[in-house]
Amino acid sequence: MLDSRPPLLQLQDITKSFGGVTALRGVDFTLRPGEIHGLVGENGAGKSTLMKIIAGVHTGFSGRFLLDGREVHFNSARDARAAGIAMVHQELSVAPDLTVAENVFLGNQPTNALGLVQWRRMAREAAEQLKRLGIDADPMSRLGDLPIGVQQLIEIARVLFSGARIIILDEPTSALSPPEVERLFAALRRLREQGTGIIFISHFIEDILLISDEVTVFRNGRKIMETRAADTSKAALIEAMIGKGRDALEDSYTHDITLPAPPVDKPIVVEADGLSLARNLKSVSFSVHAGEVLGVYGFMGCGQLELARILFGKLAPDAGELRVSGERNRFKSTADARRAGIAFVPESRRDMLFLQEPVYKNVSISILDRINALLLKPARERTLAQRQVEQLQIRPADVEIELGLLSGGNQQKVALAKWLSHPPRLLVLCEPTRGMDVGAKSDVIQIVRQLRDQGIAVIVLSTEPETVLSLADRVIVLKRGEVVREFAGETISKDRLLEAA
């Protein structure tokens, strides 16, 4: 697959610092034509910094940057695009109000001699391109009306078919279902045959091993290892990433897990009976006991997000009821749910954090009415926050620091810390480990287990089988808004979970 042409891209001895902190130290990186190059590393290891240098976003760095063997200097992301480098960012950046075709051709719509957009041609070509990714979407439909996974694929399509010679994909598979991932990989392989160089960043080591020719591991701003994907294993990569083995980590990747017998002797904390919501949920029933973690697994769009929001009073079900400790509850607001002892962490942590505010105000916000009557007691807030910060090992351990300055993993811990000063009866966690590095993941798993052992009922909703397997004592599988399977007191594996969904 590799050919003898000179490397597409060669970076030599790249060093990049931000204010006194060095993000990259003397990194070499080579990308050959027709190569898919996997990048792994914990959050903060330097992957994104390197990619932003390649994509022309970061300009001040030391070292040599060669394209086709010639040294280049980009002054902006525009220069990089002109040189044939395209990047798909982790977050969706589509125009939801435009049509599918317009999104595919965003920025370079085909025009006729008069400069008018050739709609028919655009629609036809967009449909052809999307078919190659296995998407059968009407090119003239509004993008925002499509499922989020399809939107992500369309964004990827835009870059894949832009004619770029170097394509950088940052966590492209996190919102995709397994069949969608397969179609994406097929498209990447076709591009590889055409000689495109692809850099593929992912936390999913399996994906990296499956698609990459070459794998590079980063740790603390240095390149730790570069190897052919065929010559390495998941365990070896993980060890290179974190430096040493960890027990919780191994737990979370164990293939077969034996679920404990359901704790029938413990009281039921929350019981859902026939919850239905428009097209999203069809008569969903389940119960959670104190000291139990219920996993809710399913692909994107299976109704998980809606279910979680009903539990926290953000959405009202069309039918069915929710009983908390045997009492029938109709939450009119999230405040009602909170007062009933329900805690909630949404899938996107930005949605529940105040990044501009100091850590302690974030930690105390949901318990203010328990620690203050009318007047605030900032000293009390700081003490409580300090305790949580120490318990959850949030770094830096400074409650005055603006939350936005913390790393993603630490922000996620703050999102949990909010609910722990006054332990809830039920904790609802959406995608608790999404986008986290292995170290932070294993910390979060530990925290959830501790909470369960204190007798808190936990519901974990995730589209990642590993997350559910590493946390849940019992699992229900949602498919198109219906509970299709329940796993309790038996041995399950990722395969069986995927099969059920």
Partner: protein, 343 residues
């Protein structure tokens, strides 16, 4: 932080030192510098500007705006807007006069009552209009910009029906005293404005409700996912705004010595300008009463100073507009600098 790979660097932030502190405090520093600059300019340009008497004039001139701006600060901190403040001030001022016995030559079919009842009814009226704003915003889901635009017309309509083009002069004695009397040489209206600003500051800084206001303004979704009753908080700030406007309107009527239609029209722009010029973020969550006070003085010094330097009165309007534009530019720019600093 979005891509997770950015190295957390609080040390670097600190190393950035004074420059980054200045940048993050831009919204507080810029209005203050503007105030100092304007004061120095007028003091040099006109000998009659920097006198004790004139300081008293400025304080009195900004008092009604100050009272109204207290409530508006709450609203803007929540990233909402209230365009009905001046109209509610007007209708409340008219209402308190409507319920007071007027001289026989005043041709209004009014309903005279004891002073305290007139005041209570007027307060109830402005609170009710605030509740309607709150209902439209939170229950029905009308954007505050549109909801309060409608309320502006409604309040103006009630005003018109009460006075029917006439002018009333009398208000209850306590309102007359607070609006136009003074104690030990200090006008009561200045004292009331100062107390209300102080109260607003204390509520925003030291109470749970105040914290909620900042959090809802900072990230409304996060506030909801933290289990706050966002609608209740938004509704409350609309009512607070209406009541502050009402108090400003009653004292304003006493201060001007008359109650009539369209009397408060300029106060809508002045109050919004005071809050925004002071540096409270139009995007919510940043700023406060301290900023509003600086903003009030910037406007007060500007309006008063322009009277002292003998400028074409039409040009004055243009200059005020330009100053407001400059403040808006700084406001938006400060938000961007912060966003950059946090990235």
């Amino acid at each position: 932080m979005a891509h997770g790979d950015t190295v957390p660097m609080p040390e670097a932030q600190r190393a950035g030192g004074i420059a980054s502190l200045l940048r993050s405090q831009m919204r507080n520093i810029a209005p203050f510098l503007t105030l100092i600059f304007l004061t120095a300019f007028f003091a040099i340009a006109s000998p009659s500007f920097a006198t004790i008497d004139n300081v008293g004039n400025i304080l009195t001139q900004v008092s009604v705006t100050g009272i109204i701006a207290v409530g508006l600060t709450f609203v803007i901190l929540c990233a909402e807007i209230d365009l009905s403040i001046a109209a509610i001030a007007n209708v409340t001022g008219i209402a308190v006069a409507y319920f007071t016995l007027q001289e026989s030559y005043v041709n209004i079919a009014n309903v005279p009552m004891p002073g305290f009842a007139a005041i209570l009814l007027a307060l109830a009226l402005c609170a009710l209009l605030g509740v309607v704003n709150a209902f439209g915003l939170t229950v029905i889901g009308i954007p505050s910009f549109i909801m309060t635009l409608a309320m502006m017309q409604i309040a103006a309509g009630i005003s018109a029906m009460l006075v029917r083009g006439q002018i009333a002069y009398k208000v209850p004695p306590v309102i007359t005293t607070l609006g136009s009397g003074s104690i030990a040489g200090i006008p009561w209206i200045v004292i009331v404005a100062a107390l209300m600003l102080l109260l607003g500051h204390l509520v925003l800084t030291y109470t749970r409700f105040g914290r909620y206001v900042y959090m809802v303004g900072g990230n409304r979704e996060a506030a909801e996912y933290s289990g706050l009753n966002v609608k209740l908080i938004l509704g409350s700030v609309m009512v607070i705004s209406a009541v502050c406007s009402g108090i400003g309107g009653m004292l304003g009527v006493a201060h001007f010595g008359s109650a009539q239609q369209n009397e408060f029209d300029t106060y809508l722009l002045d109050s919004i300008a005071a809050v925004v010029v002071g540096g409270t973020s139009l995007f919510g969550g940043r700023g406060g009463i301290g900023n509003t006070i600086v903003g009030l003085f910037v406007l007060g010094v500007l309006n008063n100073g322009l009277d002292h330097v003998n400028i074409d009165s039409f040009l004055k309007i243009l200059i005020r507009g330009l100053i407001l534009l400059a403040a808006l530019v700084i406001n938006v720019y400060a938000q961007r600098l912060r966003a950059k600093a946090a990235d």
